[in-house]
């Protein structure tokens, strides 16, 4: 009981700290690695919330695919500025400037404040929590019956995205052939 809360606290700290480092890290590759750490933390939170299948998908898709793609794109690109993201200027100098630092902070803080205020006084109807269901089985069953059409549309979206990414990044001399 208490151990679960402790694990929750540690995982949330890892997630939020890594998310903060994504914003502040000097090099863009470091930011990508911190992003992977943040995703791992979220996967742990999913496990704590009894979503074991989703935790595995999170690890495979986010940590395995998206972060790898980001790192590959950064490291393979020839433009020096992408590789050294903070060649722009130092983060801490930027955050202290009135125009670029304060306005994003104010927007984000206001957003978080409003959302937390709404959550605090919302009245969720509490359902007595059932014993752990077999989530993978129930997800699979629902996915291929009730949500069959969204599932097919999602696979189409992935196909279109893949073709689009390939076409967009094609070099000019290849296009003339």
């Amino acid at each position: 009981m208490n151990l679960q809360l402790l694990a929750f606290m540690i995982l949330s700290l890892v997630t939020l700290g890594a998310a903060f480092k994504v914003i502040t890290a000097r090099f863009i590759t470091h930011a990508a690695l911190y992003l992977a750490l943040s995703f791992v933390g979220v996967a742990g939170l999913f496990l704590l919330l009894n979503a074991d299948f989703l935790a595995a998908v999170q690890l495979l898709v986010y940590v395995g695919a998206i972060t790898t793609m980001l790192i590959f794109a950064v490291m393979l690109s020839q433009v020096e500025e992408i590789r050294q993201g903070a060649a722009e200027e130092g983060f801490w100098r930027r955050i202290l400037s009135a125009r670029f630092g304060v306005i994003p902070l104010a927007v984000a803080a206001a957003l978080a404040g409003v959302i937390l205020y709404l959550y605090r006084f919302a009245n969720w109807k509490a359902v007595p929590v059932a014993p752990d269901p077999n989530t993978t089985r129930s997800i699979g069953q629902a996915m291929f019956t009730t949500y069959l059409i969204p599932f097919e549309v999602a696979s189409l979206v992935l196909l279109v995205a893949m073709i689009g990414a390939i076409v967009l990044t094609m070099k000019k001399e290849d296009r003339s052939r």
Partner: protein
């Protein structure tokens, strides 16, 4: 058991960090990373609500899976666009790209 409110607090903070990063940075790849963080916070919210409000129904988790699909597609296309922009302008800094036409 963890109270639902704690999960919501964590997801809200992650969301706010994502918004902050997306507004703060000028590097397009970092903005893409911030957007991924925002989508992750949304997923956390969906799973948390699914766990506590409809524990016998996997609806929230299925929605989270669809969010992940769209996030993967968005990351692929967004990264491709950023690479094309960087190749053409020699920069990934979004405040230097002023034209829609190439």
């Amino acid at each position: 058991m963890i109270p639902l409110f704690y999960v919501l607090v964590v997801s809200t903070l992650l969301f706010a960090l994502g918004v902050y990063g997306a507004l703060l940075s000028t590097n397009a790849i970092r903005i893409l990373m911030s957007i991924e963080m925002i989508l992750n916070a949304v997923n956390l919210n969906l799973v948390g609500f699914g766990r506590y409000i409809t524990p016998s129904d996997p609806r929230g988790q299925i929605f989270a899976i669809f969010v992940m699909t769209v996030a993967a597609a968005e990351a692929a296309v967004g990264l491709a666009i950023i690479l094309v922009i960087a190749r053409r302008y020699g920069a990934a800094a979004i405040d230097r790209v002023r034209m829609l036409k190439g």
